[in-house]
Symmetry: C2
Subunit: 425 residues, 2 copies
């Protein structure tokens, strides 16, 4: 079903695609895009599996979905149209892909392209935004921010991060209550590994689980600080001796002084990033061998970034808002920008959406300010708390079925009739 | 604060202790015990860290807690008084401990002892229930069921299980939405390791995440079936080729044909059980080496059994109900029994609490009926669904603070004045 078009509906279609690792709220951005475009009488096509779908002319007609489905999409985790890790090469390196992309855009009268992703995706969006100048096809391209890593430049925070931050803080608090109960005769050291390849934002969010000096987490390990085995073991030992047990939260990207990941799986993803996972068992073995404490470790992996059931309301609202703003920017004729979150007040927390140039975001990575890490490197400062605290506030309730499971929506994802010959990517 | 005692309040105190691994709802049982005893004018002492506190005369006076605190205790995960893994030896092997226990019970006029735990704890409770006969101290001992493993005999299900089952089903569904979005260019096989040392109940619960043939989870690995590497790899490969990706849920207790755990950490806990953890990375390496698929794996570990934020309402209600019943049985003069859950109807789901002899529960382990596993051993049957489905039904909402975190209670845990000399355990 398609909403009624105002008589002033602009000509052309809008293409939306999801890119990179998905989040608990990326579909809230999709819902914001689709509902806003509908309100302007513009049809949204979605590329199946991100930019790959655009190259393959594998497009989805979102006008086949009801308004109720799009509303439910806003609380469904994962990427409803499929995502991908695929980075467009430069124009000089792969002109064929750009030519193909233009063929597809032209064949389907696509005038606006919205690319929902992280810093790699902002780079792709930037290249596409330049097609008018470089290839003579006039397209408006808007980035839509998304990443659990919270490492995009310019924006105050990234949609997707607040929810994984909330998941991490709650999980740290809950698991620590468990450990505290058992420490006398069982586990004394609990190690929770969280995502964050090069920036310790998620690990830092675990710090919100406690506020008193001996509250969990007692030790946080950040990628921003080289791992010091001696200092780590001393801190764990002192904590167990004082508190009775110790909760450690470790970023997957923890590295030694030589810059090597503590847990290097040895494989690389399509962007050339190392595929990590498994710093928790490495630390656990260290605790066992050097301190002799009984330990447990957890690696929630995808659970943390898909846990829509415990999403942050602030995060869900921001994710929707950037989707909405992206459409408004596109229809207003803007190009090569991304709607970002601007914080106007810490307390009470206030934010707004503003436009930032993609060129300032593409391929950059925001690390935590040095002032967010405590002097010893094992905790967060008051400044970090002021920044992080608002992002996990508010619950974003879900409908649950009689079966006790959240009601997540499954889209029809009806394909748009192809008009071109096949293209291999 | 102590509630007003009815004039008919029975003489003596009630001692409550938590034992073994804690759960998201064991404190709901504690709240049921305390609130019910108060209503009967009976004071509840809690042993700090389970039976150890009873032996050490390290007792907590719960009458120092307000009614509001006890109400909040019902939604706080972990074990509020501390738990332990400590098995009393037989009377012949350690008469000194039994003598000490009687000294402590007598010194504090304890007439009823409630022990909240699994099958090892039921054995301890049974030994204590016999103190009248074996040692001449008249005590009524009631077991209170608790274990995420759902492996207690007699009872239809175990308080603690429904909530971890719900966590597992929801996490499987959420993470699978993530994997499905990314499979085209990234992770094709996702492996979730869940608890369950010798019985695959939690792994089976993951099966509730899907209902259609190609819904996740696609492969479940149970401790009840010997791991067949060839059949496993064939099934994963066929799933990836047909569906595009594959979610595997593996019980920590999966064993090979020789009966060896796939992930043997080599350490043992106080009961002599192997300490497991890490079958997921073992399976992931197999998938990588033999099939070459990109994989991710997750081990939620304590997160799964402490996730009160996503507890099952049925489970929380049953946990409270067995605590309440245990007090009623004790005050009625019953001994050596445990309140168990009796299912009176599958659909609509109906249950009641009834008394079962501890001797029928101690040291036994309930495995899944063979009829619950599909013929190929990789899934659950309709009979398993009928059994499992009601246990994850209903949400058990929590109060959240302005900080976005659940409001969990911290008890005062005021110590009872000691009357005896120290005793080393």
């Amino acid at each position: 079903m398609r909403s009624r078009q105002p008589s002033s509906a602009p000509a052309g279609r809008l293409l939306y695609a999801q890119s990179g690792g998905v989040t608990a709220v990326i579909n809230a951005s999709a819902a914001g895009v689709i509902a806003t475009a509908r309100a302007h009488g513009v049809t949204v096509y979605a590329a199946r599996n991100g930019i790959l779908g655009a190259l393959r002319e594998d497009l989805i007609d979102t006008s086949k979905e009801t308004a109720a489905t799009i509303a439910a999409l806003a609380h469904t985790p994962g990427g409803a149209f499929g995502s991908c890790r695929y980075k467009l090469k430069s124009l000089d390196d792969n002109r064929a892909e750009y030519t193909r992309l233009i063929d597809v855009l032209r064949a389907h009268d696509i005038r606006w392209f919205l690319y929902n992703g992280g810093n790699d995706s902002a780079d792709t969006a930037l290249k596409i935004s330049q097609l008018g100048r470089t290839m003579g096809y006039d397209i408006r391209c808007i980035g839509v921010p998304k990443t659990v890593d919270n490492d995009l430049a310019v924006t105050d925070c990234c949609p997707g991060f607040g929810s994984v931050a909330k998941y991490t803080a709650i999980s740290t608090r809950e698991a620590s209550l468990d450990v505290a109960s058992m420490a006398e005769t069982s586990t004394k050291v609990f190690i929770l590994e969280v995502m964050g390849r090069h920036a310790g934002w998620i690990a830092a969010a675990a710090g919100l689980a406690g506020s008193a000096p001996d509250d969990a987490p007692h030790v946080i390990l950040f990628p921003e600080r080289a791992f010091d085995e001696r200092a780590f073991l001393d801190r764990v030992k002192a904590t167990v001796e004082r508190v009775g047990w110790c909760t450690v939260v470790a970023s997957e990207g923890v590295r030694n002084a030589a810059g090597e990941f503590l847990a290097e799986a040895g494989t690389r993803d399509a962007f050339g990033h190392s595929q990590l996972g498994g710093v928790a068992p490495v630390l656990a073995a260290l605790v066992r061998d050097k301190l002799g404490y009984k330990y447990h470790w957890a690696v929630p992996d995808y659970l943390q970034r898909s846990a829509r059931h415990i999403a942050s309301r602030v995060d869900a609202e921001q994710a929707y808002a950037v989707g909405k703003a992206a459409v408004e920017y596109a229809l207003a004729g803007m190009n090569a920008v991304m709607p970002v979150i601007v914080r106007t007040s810490d307390s009470p927390y206030r934010w707004k959406v503003d436009a930032a140039a993609l060129s300032k975001i593409a391929n950059r990575e925001k690390k935590m300010p040095a002032g967010f890490l405590s002097k010893d490197g094992f905790g967060i400062t008051a400044a970090a708390r002021r920044y992080l605290a608002p992002l996990i506030r508010g619950e974003a309730p879900l409908p649950y079925g009689k079966d006790g499971l959240p009601v997540y929506v499954q889209l029809k994802n009806r394909a748009v009739q192809k008009k071109l010959a096949d293209f291999q990517v």
